[in-house]
């Protein structure tokens, strides 16, 4: 973005004046999700059984817990951006839209926090649970 002509000052910003940041973040997290959720799905299917000891023993390994936390960050950021677009497209009343976007943020960030805390607890507690 240049600072010379009027066109140069606004080029790439779009009508939202937020530029392409939202759009790019949706793509960055999409790549993260494609890799990490595919990894999780294959790993879960490959687990020998789904009893408590097997599953927690698997998650407690650093090589599993860290990608799992990264996946939660990537997935819930993607969820937040995706639900935001849903609200912006279908909720036209400004007040209701504002309230809906607050709810979307609370849901995405809150649920992500519960998920990350849970993985951390499984990893740090070991066999104490």
């Amino acid at each position: 973005m240049g600072n010379g002509t009027k066109t140069g000052q606004v080029r790439g910003l779009g009508s939202a004046h937020g530029g392409t940041h939202h759009w790019m973040m949706q793509r960055y997290t999409a790549v993260g999700n494609a890799l990490l959720v595919t990894w999780l799905l294959i790993s879960i299917v490959a687990l020998p059984s789904y009893d408590y000891a097997t599953v927690t023993g698997w998650i407690a390994q650093p090589i599993v817990a860290v990608p799992l936390i990264l996946m939660l960050v990537s997935v819930f950021q993607h969820i937040r951006l995706g639900l935001q677009v849903l609200v912006e497209d279908y909720v036209h009343d400004e007040g209701l839209k504002f309230a809906s976007l607050i709810l979307v943020n609370f849901y995405a960030i809150g649920t992500a926090a519960f998920g990350i805390f849970s993985v951390a607890r499984i990893a740090f507690a070991g066999s104490a649970l």
Partner: protein, 123 residues
């Protein structure tokens, strides 16, 4: 158009049911063996005679199969979006071919996954 609608429906469906289901699973695991047993009871296999639990099982199993289909559909459709983002694949025949291929591939992948789980692993 169908693929575009499915991308939104599967994405927002996973955003709610997938997000809550995933964290329910992790939270139950973090809560200890009793909490995880409760999760398995309602999500997968309730005790015989527990009617509300068995109804929950039917609902949760349908949701889980639906979520795996939604994941494959959204993943393949998302990869198609990346191709479209670089300006390729807009020719009518190409576009139509890949749209149909994605819908078919997601159904095949879902079926393969659940055959592996239910028949292969005897879940």
């Amino acid at each position: 158009m169908l693929v575009s609608i499915l991308h939104r429906v599967t994405g927002d469906g996973m955003a709610i049911f997938g997000g809550l289901g995933l964290v329910w699973w992790l939270y139950a695991l973090a809560g200890g063996p009793a909490d995880y047993a409760c999760f398995l009871h309602y999500a997968w296999q309730a005790d015989a005679g527990d009617l509300p639990g068995l109804i929950a099982n039917v609902f949760c199993r349908i949701v889980m199969i639906g979520l795996t289909w939604a994941f494959f559909q959204h993943l393949f459709s998302g990869l198609r979006h990346f191709v479209l983002d670089i300006g390729a694949g807009y020719e009518l025949r190409t576009n139509r071919l890949w749209s149909i291929a994605i819908v078919a591939a997601s159904i095949i992948a879902t079926a393969a996954l659940w055959v592996w789980l239910l028949v292969g692993k005897g879940l």
